[in-house]
């Protein structure tokens, strides 16, 4: 018996399998985003919750009241722009640093004997088994004026007065690079380990130097790994709050802190939401690039 036309529209096992990720995205991305978007068009109010409703149903009429004031407000004070730029700058430099440190590490792991690779990967991942908050606190203990690093440097007589590292941007970079390095190394490793080494041999046979081999063959082939790792570091660092709050100083201006101030100090959930929506809009560009790259990877094209 042929399946009826109706059956085509009824959910089948296959739909359920595809449906789960969609349901997940709907519940944990789209729905929260719509709520934040809704709040960003409201006005702050003294109530529970502390903002006005944007729609009203009365006399069989639905009135939608969108307040764009919050978005306009963001353009009126240079603070918000410099906070976005501050976040993007920290994210950009941290990504570059992660790449500089992560690439040789990933390369070394990928070229190590198979038996050692699991152990080496485990060593990269093991720190992430401890909560990030605890690890950032540990950095406070290391970088402080009477912390481990300064005591050591003073102990061996390299410096006389403690270096001011904690509560500066340097500490933020150290914390961020440390925390996000595994997210750079893992996709790079996954890419590098798949390379066909006979390509390098062939190039060497034709007289290419090792240096040339690396730049002309390995790096271009690992482009997708570099992009994936960079996105995994860049995107979350833009919105990072915990690390700059604990390790940064007064000159550290990032969007996460400004968001906190709007939300908690000013009790202005609508402006805070508008800030978050704009941040998402800024991040959509690299996310789209990332997705396009992923799609290419799946199709097997370089």
């Amino acid at each position: 018996m042929k399946p009826s036309k109706l059956a085509r529209y009824l959910p089948s096992g296959r739909h359920a399998v595809i449906g789960i990720p969609f349901l997940w995205l709907f519940m944990f991305f789209l729905l929260p985003f719509v709520i934040v978007l809704k709040i960003s068009f409201a006005e702050a109010d003294v109530a529970i919750p502390p903002y006005t409703e944007i729609y009203e149903w009365a006399d069989n009429k639905l009135t939608l009241l969108l307040n764009f004031g919050n978005y306009i407000f963001l353009t009126e004070d240079a603070l918000y722009l410099s906070a976005y730029l501050g976040s993007l700058k920290v994210a950009l430099f941290s990504t570059l640093l992660c790449l500089l440190i992560g690439y040789p590490m990933a390369y070394a792991i990928a070229r190590a004997p198979k038996s050692q690779q699991t152990v080496l990967l485990l060593l990269i991942m093991m720190p992430t088994w401890t909560a990030i908050l605890i690890r950032v606190y540990a950095w406070m203990g290391i970088l402080g004026n009477n912390g481990l690093l300064n005591s050591l440097l003073m102990g061996i007589g390299l410096i006389d007065t403690p270096l001011q590292i904690l509560n500066t941007n340097i500490a933020v970079y150290i914390g961020v690079v440390y925390s996000y390095l595994p997210f750079m190394i893992l996709p790079l490793y996954a890419n590098l380990v798949k390379h066909d080494l006979s390509l390098l041999e062939a190039a060497s046979d034709l007289g290419s130097s090792n240096f040339n081999n690396f730049w002309k063959i390995t790096v271009p082939l690992s482009k997708n790994g570099i992009i994936a790792g960079s996105m995994l570091v860049f995107i979350p660092v833009v919105g990072e709050f915990v690390i700059p709050e604990l390790l940064g100083g007064p000159e550290t201006l990032m969007i996460g802190k400004v968001l906190w101030q709007e939300f908690f100090n000013n009790r202005d959930w609508p402006v805070a939401s508008a800030l978050a929506v704009v941040m998402l809009a800024i991040l959509i560009v690299p996310i789209i690039l990332f997705n396009r790259n992923q799609a290419k990877e799946l199709e097997g094209r370089p």
Partner: protein, 365 residues
């Protein structure tokens, strides 16, 4: 607002506990400031009443408020400071207290209740728990070494005169990281009303801070407790009880640091932490039993002896350790009391101006 890190830790602990919350009539959920109760208070209460207390702590009014405003916080008793309480009452966060279940109400300080009417008209929603002032904590020896014998340690001149700050820079000065509690001190020092909402006057306060900013070691609301005790900084503008804690720590460590606390003679800001019951509390009955227990003079005196903040319970004062009771930094004299001001419930626009000023003062942007 105190340290954010501690808050995160507290939040994660809280989330774990709140997840296990049940509507058991014998369980009471209390959310109080960290280090703000005597070690044996809760155990004694449980023994006496058979009510089990699930006790969580926070260290910033903002965190408490965000929970309350989001609704369904899961707590039966919370302890916001008075300007926050005022706003939260307006937002409908709390329920009126049933005073027939609070026979110990008569122990409270009547003058204090009257002074708190602007935050809670008619004292219908809240009970004063502890209170304190925001004044000058200082390292007696170091300040003397830098500024000489007649250093103005009992005046805002100490930190608001740039020439003093330039000298104090060498040993370290810290301020609370709280615009709404520190900017009023600058306003007051400049001769304006501490609750001024005038933009020009706030601008002047910001300028005053910009002048001394290069000499400020840091703005933080709890780090100074240990830094003052071990001599890392020599002046801290902070909460009275915290500075007394710092003093006790220095004495314990026997490190030769002597910490002093003064309420500046020009006047100082004060905060009152208020016990209140959220409108959606599950165990209102037990909440009232707990509040009544906290108003017992012996219980309250015991807490004051431990946390070193004065309480709002007149009947408890004679039971407080004499050293604390007679210390004008803890229990101010009537003359000083007259010069103490409270923090108002700020309009959103003023709050925003202050937060913005503070960012500018701290980051230069």
């Amino acid at each position: 607002m105190k340290t954010f890190g501690k808050t995160l830790l507290a939040l994660s602990l809280t989330a774990a506990v709140a997840g296990a919350a049940q509507a058991d009539s014998k369980v009471l959920h209390v959310y109080n400031w960290s280090d703000y109760i005597a070690e044996d208070t809760l155990a004694n209460f449980e023994k006496e009443t058979g009510i089990k207390v699930v006790y969580d702590v926070f260290d910033s009014n903002e965190v408490l408020e965000a929970k309350l405003l989001a609704g369904s916080s899961g707590y039966d008793v919370v302890v916001p400071s008075n300007p926050f309480l005022a706003k939260q009452i307006k937002a409908g966060v709390f329920q009126k207290l049933d005073k027939s279940k609070l026979p110990n109400w008569s122990n409270l300080d009547k003058d204090l209740l009257k002074a708190l009417e602007p935050s809670d008209p008619g004292n219908q929603y809240s009970i004063p728990y502890m209170w304190g002032t925001i004044g000058i904590g200082y390292n007696v020896e170091k300040v003397k070494a830098v500024l000489g014998e007649d250093a103005p340690v009992d005046s805002w001149d100490l930190v608001f005169k740039p020439e003093n700050m330039e000298k104090l820079k060498s040993c370290g000065v810290s301020f609370l990281d709280s615009p709404t509690e520190i900017l009023p001190a600058a306003l007051h020092y400049l001769g304006y009303a501490p609750d001024s909402s005038d933009k020009g006057e706030l601008q002047k306060a910001e300028e005053l801070f910009m002048k001394i900013r290069p000499s400020v070691a840091y703005f933080h609301s709890s780090k100074y407790i240990s830094d003052l005790a071990n001599g890392n900084i020599c002046v801290a503008i902070g909460y009275s009880g915290d500075i007394y804690q710092s003093k006790a720590r220095a004495e314990e460590a026997k490190n030769g640091v002597e910490v002093g606390y003064n309420i500046p003679k020009e006047g100082a800001g004060s905060f009152f932490d208020m016990l209140a019951v959220p409108a959606d509390a599950k165990n209102v009955e037990a909440a009232h039993v707990f509040l009544n227990y906290l108003m017992e003079p012996a219980v309250m005196a015991n807490i004051t002896n431990y946390v070193q903040f004065p309480n709002g319970n007149a009947a408890a004062t004679p039971l407080v350790d004499e050293a604390l009771r007679t210390d004008p930094g803890v229990y101010p004299t009537p003359e000083v009391l007259k010069k103490i001001y409270t923090f108002p419930d700020l309009a959103p626009a003023v709050q925003r101006t202050m937060t913005r000023s503070w960012t500018k003062i701290k980051s230069g942007r």
